[in-house]
């Protein structure tokens, strides 16, 4: 009585086919990642130890470690985000909570979107012209950080706006109805309920700032800089620094006779630090979400 008709059978088959096709494509995504990471680790293995991280490069960068580059990257990332995070978050609060739909704010929106689409090499040239020369900051950590800050700013604005927009409008209206000002509403209800999303957006920019080579190469990263092994405060803000991404580029292409495992180990350190920070962001978000209040 309930025998399968040919129509039902063909429907069932195409359903199964579709499901497997989509699964295969998603699974194919994972494969390159595993291959890249696995390949890197195998190639890097001979050099991977704590001394590689803490030591300085030796014998014309063909041996030794990567400490100056690692510290330089930490400097660049933290200083650039210390600039772009406050500016970006405040700008996003204005755009999402205060701005009316007029031509000025439409222009600002357009600028933010376009700024996000500017290639990093163009940011690099802008940073060279604006910070190194016009502002007379010279080739320095400050110039490079400012350039990275400009690069990460639009993305931070976009992610912060998204986090703010996820707070239901009805909460704001309830506050306005009892005579709260916009700022009282933002402080009491909007910010506390979007802060996890805002922080996640900022932290995810760490990986971008750490990975970019062009902007810092033009504005403040240098081929070699003498630094003590394991020294934390290795640089002044007005001097140039080494950086992981730049270091990886130079030892891979510019320096002959580098021990084979060193570039791979450098890549592993860069990848691992970025993944570590991202994992921290994801944990933070999960933690805050579990305390979500509605």
């Amino acid at each position: 009585m309930f025998a399968e008709t040919p129509f039902v059978r063909s429907k069932r088959r195409s359903e199964a086919f579709a499901k497997w096709l989509f699964f295969a494509m998603s699974a194919a995504m994972v494969l390159p990642l595993l291959l890249i990471v696995g390949y890197l680790f195998v190639k890097a293995a001979p050099s991977l130890n704590i001394n590689f991280l803490l030591d300085v490069p030796r014998r014309g960068m063909t041996q030794g470690g990567i400490w100056p580059a690692f510290v330089g990257t930490v400097y660049l990332v933290f200083i650039s985000l210390a600039i772009s995070a406050p500016v970006g978050i405040l700008a996003a609060v204005y755009l999402n909570e205060y701005a009316r739909d007029n031509w000025l704010n439409r222009m600002i929106n357009l600028a933010v979107i376009n700024l996000a689409g500017v290639p990093s090499i163009v940011h690099a040239l802008f940073g060279l012209g604006a910070f190194v020369y016009a502002a007379r900051l010279g080739y320095s950590i400050l110039s490079a950080s400012l350039t990275l800050a400009i690069m990460t700013l639009p993305v931070i604005i976009a992610s912060t706006r998204e986090a703010l927009a996820s707070v239901p409008m009805s909460f704001r209206e309830a506050c306005w109805n009892v005579g709260a000002t916009r700022w009282q509403t933002i402080r009491a209800v909007v910010l506390p309920n979007s802060i996890s999303g805002i922080l996640t957006g900022v932290i995810l920019q760490v990986s971008r700032a750490a990975g970019e080579t062009a902007p810092i190469m033009f504005t403040g990263a240098v081929f070699f800089k003498a630094v003590q092994k394991g020294e934390v405060f290795a640089y002044h803000l007005n001097e140039q620094c080494m950086a992981l991404s730049m270091h990886l580029y130079t030892i891979s292409t510019q320096v002959p006779g580098v021990k084979e495992s060193i570039p791979f180990a450098t890549a592993v350190v860069l990848l691992a630090s970025v993944l570590l920070v991202n994992a921290a962001a994801i944990t933070l978000r999960a933690l805050m979400r579990s305390r979500k209040k509605w």
Partner: protein, 253 residues
């Protein structure tokens, strides 16, 4: 216009962009009356309330003309918008517990108005929660989240919040659509108590609710007043307009 009118609305027109939703309506609301507003969806009931407490300002495409006075003061020229909103308690159709503790939900408005003394705040929180018939259910867990309460409790919390800034006018916008009949009856009893202290505007889709509570009822339809009279007449056998009779008795359309 009568001298004791609490709210006067004169030739109020409201348009969202080019679409006019209130076509020049005029009426008075008296002190301490329960004023019912009935009418089908899209007839402009909620928009009317938003004009009175000026939250219509948050819709940039809205344009308002005409005059609304509260206690003789033109709300469209008021010096202190936030003080105006504190004179008017507003309860929305869907309960909105703010993602704060129950205590903070009620203490929020007094704090925004500058009240900081703990004893004053404690007194207001207890008084408002009692007025909203919620105190006994939540007095032992004032620090738990307002959003974790049930729908009916959240609606009473919303009412407590609307009372927390000690308004002279309470606007209830279809407060019962998301709550069960028993809770509705409890809140209706609360409203009958509150009228001694304030004027109540009751917007409702339930014509029987207006009949039970309102002294006078206005039938608003497509942005025009079809009829405004004492509830006995509106809900009686002989309202002036045939459409009123048909709407109230479910024969409309």
């Amino acid at each position: 216009m009568s001298a004791q009118a609490h709210i006067q609305v004169q030739d109020l027109r409201l348009a969202y962009g080019t679409r006019e939703v209130l076509h020049g309506i005029s009426f008075d609301i008296r002190h301490n009356e329960i004023f019912g507003i009935i009418g089908p969806a899209q007839s402009g009931k909620t928009s009317l309330l938003r004009c009175i407490n000026r939250t219509i300002d948050f819709s940039p495409e809205a344009s308002v003309s005409g005059a609304i006075t509260v206690d003789g003061e033109d709300v469209r020229r008021t010096k202190d918008l936030f003080a105006l909103r504190r004179r008017i308690g507003m309860v929305a159709p869907l309960p909105v517990g703010l993602p704060l503790s129950i205590y903070d939900n009620v203490a929020f408005a007094p704090r925004c108005a500058g009240m900081t003394r703990k004893t004053d705040l404690d007194a207001i929180v207890e008084q408002c929660l009692r007025q909203a018939a919620l105190w006994d259910e939540v007095k032992d867990r004032l620090s738990s989240l307002g959003t974790k309460l049930s729908g009916g409790q959240q609606q009473r919390l919303t009412i407590a919040r609307a009372l927390s800034h000690q308004p002279a006018i309470l606007c209830l916008d279809e407060f019962s659509i998301a709550i069960d009949p028993v809770t509705t009856m409890r809140i209706e009893d609360v409203i009958k108590e509150l009228r001694r202290d304030m004027t109540v505007i009751l917007v409702t889709n339930l014509t029987q609710q207006a009949r039970r509570l309102a002294d006078r009822t206005m039938f608003l339809w497509n942005g025009e007043i079809i009829e405004l009279d004492s509830s006995d007449i509106i809900f009686g056998d002989q309202p002036r307009d045939r459409r009123t009779y048909e709407y109230v008795n479910g024969l409309f359309g």
